[in-house]
């Protein structure tokens, strides 16, 4: 997530003030001041280099070597075997479904929140709750689901013993890919609220008033003004949610222990297996595949962001 969100606003801020508002752009800072400003970035740049760029390069490069250290393309071509392609398919499906559910539900919550007072108690509570819940993933979340709707979970047992409803009558789906949808949606919806609410609140009341003055209905306002303005932000958030689900590992790892149906679990399997040996370098190739997907998503996200930011200035 940090990867997806961090670069976009920075680039946009700089590019846009220069491209679209040349006349109001601040005077060029002197070279000396600009150098100083860049020097201030050094700790961050060093951090990114050591903990993000370097390990990424090392991991991806391993994908091009065999067990004994010779150059090979076997791992990368291995990405196109049916098993791995199915895995990528599984990841796309899961990320897509949870991103769409998260985006639609999250957007509806944002819309409902428009009725609350900005800075008021209710909105503050919802906003803080969303910030916390968006980060409530991983093993904690998986455990919370096992404890509530696991095979011996509280809700499962109450439903079964009191109401005679067996939610696992057709097999224990919680520990398979469909079972990941609920926990993923759990952190996708709040993330949507966080990212989409600013766009929604940026709708100027004057636009609605202008539309009404010109005789537009409420529907016409949403159809012709609000929806087109919000579309890039909505799609951008949708992409962010997709990337968020695509790269999630811990929740899935804690729930699914059979089959490695999504890419992060395949990487785990390639690294730790004690039965299928010599696939450690396959993990690098899988990471490369994930990075390609993430780069495409991030690129699309930044394009959409730059469109949205026009309306937010």
């Amino acid at each position: 997530m940090s990867l997806a969100t961090a670069p976009a606003p920075e680039q946009d801020g700089v590019e846009h003030s220069a491209r679209h508002h040349p006349r109001v752009a601040p005077a060029k800072p002197s070279n000396r001041r600009r150098r100083l400003a860049y020097a201030g970035l050094t700790p961050f740049a060093a951090y990114v280099l050591i903990f993000l760029a370097l390990p990424t390069i090392l991991a991806v490069v391993t994908g091009f070597f065999s067990d004994d250290g010779t150059l090979t393309f076997d791992n990368v071509t291995g990405l196109f075997t049916p098993t791995i392609l199915t895995t990528f398919g599984g990841s796309f499906w899961l990320s897509g479904v949870t991103a769409v559910i998260g985006a639609v539900v999250g957007a509806l919550i944002c819309y409902a929140m428009l009725g609350t007072k900005v800075g008021g108690l209710l909105r503050t509570i919802i906003e803080s709750a969303a910030s916390v819940l968006a980060q409530f993933g991983g093993v904690m979340l998986a455990f919370a689901f096992i404890a509530t709707i696991g095979v011996q979970g509280l809700v499962t047992v109450i439903l079964r013993d009191t109401f005679g409803i067996d939610i696992f009558a057709d097999g224990v789906w919680l520990y398979q890919v469909p079972g990941l949808i609920l926990p993923y949606v759990y952190f996708q919806v709040p993330l949507m609220v966080i990212t989409f609410l600013p766009a929604l609140t940026a709708l100027r009341p004057q636009w609605a008033e202008a539309s009404a003055t010109l005789g537009g209905t409420r529907f016409a306002y949403w159809r012709h003004i609000a929806a087109p303005v919000l579309a890039p932000a909505f799609l951008g958030s949708l992409l962010l949610l997709f990337a968020n689900a695509f790269s999630s590992f811990a929740t899935a790892a804690a729930l699914i222990s059979q089959g490695s149906q999504i890419v992060p679990l395949q990487i785990r399997s390639a690294l730790v297996s004690e039965t299928v040996l010599g696939r450690e370098n396959m993990a690098g190739a899988l990471a490369l595949g994930m990075i390609v997907v993430m780069v495409v998503v991030m690129w699309a996200y930044s394009v959409l962001q730059s469109r949205t930011s026009r309306w937010q200035q």
Binding site: P55, G137, V151, G171, I256, G259, E274, L277, G278
Partner: protein, 370 residues
């Protein structure tokens, strides 16, 4: 999230490995013996000298030895008590492959593993990591159970068994029993067979009980696929906790693990189906880069002493020197009676068969239970 976090961890480990290796100097020679190249107790000048050298080191690093696995808890405790050497037990629940990865990552540090306990596939693939060592009673270990120069040696085996919660499900008497509706959402494996040796063995057992041979595990995969379609398979890794919580009511696992569960969980029973018995030895090896080379060799001597071998029996496993111990009368007969003899048609895959089936599983397993 996964790639980034893992990569950051990799970078951290790499960075700390570089820094730490610069300042640690594992000089662990006692007297004039270089323990790291000693291949037998004679090289030290006798057992007393080995004990003295090990005690001078004071510590032993073991890895991937859970307390409730083949009674390792008691074995580690007895070693500590007997020789006054601290046993540092790291990452009890990791896989054999991760043991070797740990040896790589921690190389040169004083926290690196001294000894390994490995599944056969990983052991045969990692010979470069081992130092040859032959214990004093080397001759008591059958020919087929050891590498000629002492690089690795079998330590214990169990049979693939079925544990079940007798309070809520009936005893399964055949593989097909498990397809019945009484076992809905109940049958579990100890791990993913494409990752964990115990689950791999369960597929092997299912194969030979479905009329297949160890050359091809496909019948076993088909059985579990059917089990999954019937809604009886639960894709949760069996642990002591899932058994205690009643989440996994039927568990394919090594007999020693199921027996350990039976000792702590009320109503947990163990059965082996009549027919072929699937066994697979684990392998013991000393690390070439052991930070405590003398303690590692003393641990080896200790493990193959009747004292520790009997503790394996107490834990439900069959130690490799069991025949010699029975002949010499040093076996713990009470424990062996309680365990029962390992009888019947014993089947164990050869390394070639294991490798071939691993490929088959990697291809078919995810689809079979997806």
């Amino acid at each position: 999230m996964f790639t980034k976090r893992t990569l950051a961890a990799v970078a951290l480990v790499a960075a700390s490995a570089i820094t730490l290796s610069a300042c640690s100097t594992p000089e662990a020679t006692a007297g004039d013996v270089d323990a790291s190249v000693a291949t037998s107790v004679e090289d030290f000048g006798g057992m007393d000298a080995l004990i003295a050298a090990a005690q001078a080191e004071g510590e032993l690093n073991v890895i991937a030895l859970p307390d409730n696995w083949a009674n390792y808890g008691e074995i580690k405790a007895l070693f500590e008590e007997k020789y006054d050497i601290i046993v540092n037990s790291a990452d009890p629940d990791i896989s054999s492959a991760e043991e070797i990865a740990a040896a790589d990552n921690l190389k040169g540090q004083d926290t690196a593993p001294d000894v390994f306990d490995l599944g056969t596939a990983v052991a045969l693939d990692s010979l470069d990591y081992f130092a040859p060592y032959m214990v004093a009673n080397w001759d008591e270990i059958p020919e087929g159970n050891k590498e000629a120069t002492g690089l690795w040696v079998n330590d214990y085996t169990g049979s693939m068994s079925i544990g079940y919660d007798s309070n809520s499900v009936p005893e399964p008497t055949s593989l097909d029993d498990l397809l019945k509706s009484e076992y809905r959402g109940a049958v579990a494996l100890n791990g993913d067979p494409t990752q964990a040796g115990a689950a791999f063995a369960a597929l092997g057992l299912a194969t030979v009980h479905s009329g297949g041979t160890l050359d091809d595990f496909t019948p076993g995969i088909e059985f579990f696929s059917e089990l999954n379609k019937a809604g009886n398979f639960i894709p949760v890794n069996v642990t002591g906790a899932t058994i205690a919580a009643g989440e996994t009511k039927v568990a394919f696992d090594w007999s020693y693990n199921n027996l350990a569960a039976a000792a702590t969980v009320d109503g947990w029973k163990v059965t082996t189906l009549s027919g072929p018995v699937y066994t697979s030895f684990y392998n013991q090896a000393v690390s070439k880069d052991a930070p405590h080379p003398a303690a590692a060799r003393l641990w080896q001597e200790f493990l193959y002493s009747p004292e520790a071998q009997n503790l394996f029996i107490v834990g439900g496993a069959y130690p490799v020197t069991i025949q010699a111990m029975q002949d010499a009368g040093t076996v713990d007969t009470d424990a062996l009676d309680a365990l029962g003899a390992l009888e019947g048609e014993l089947v164990t895959p050869t390394p070639e068969q294991a490798e071939k089936n691993a490929t088959i599983l990697a291809e078919k397993w995810a689809a079979a239970i997806g």
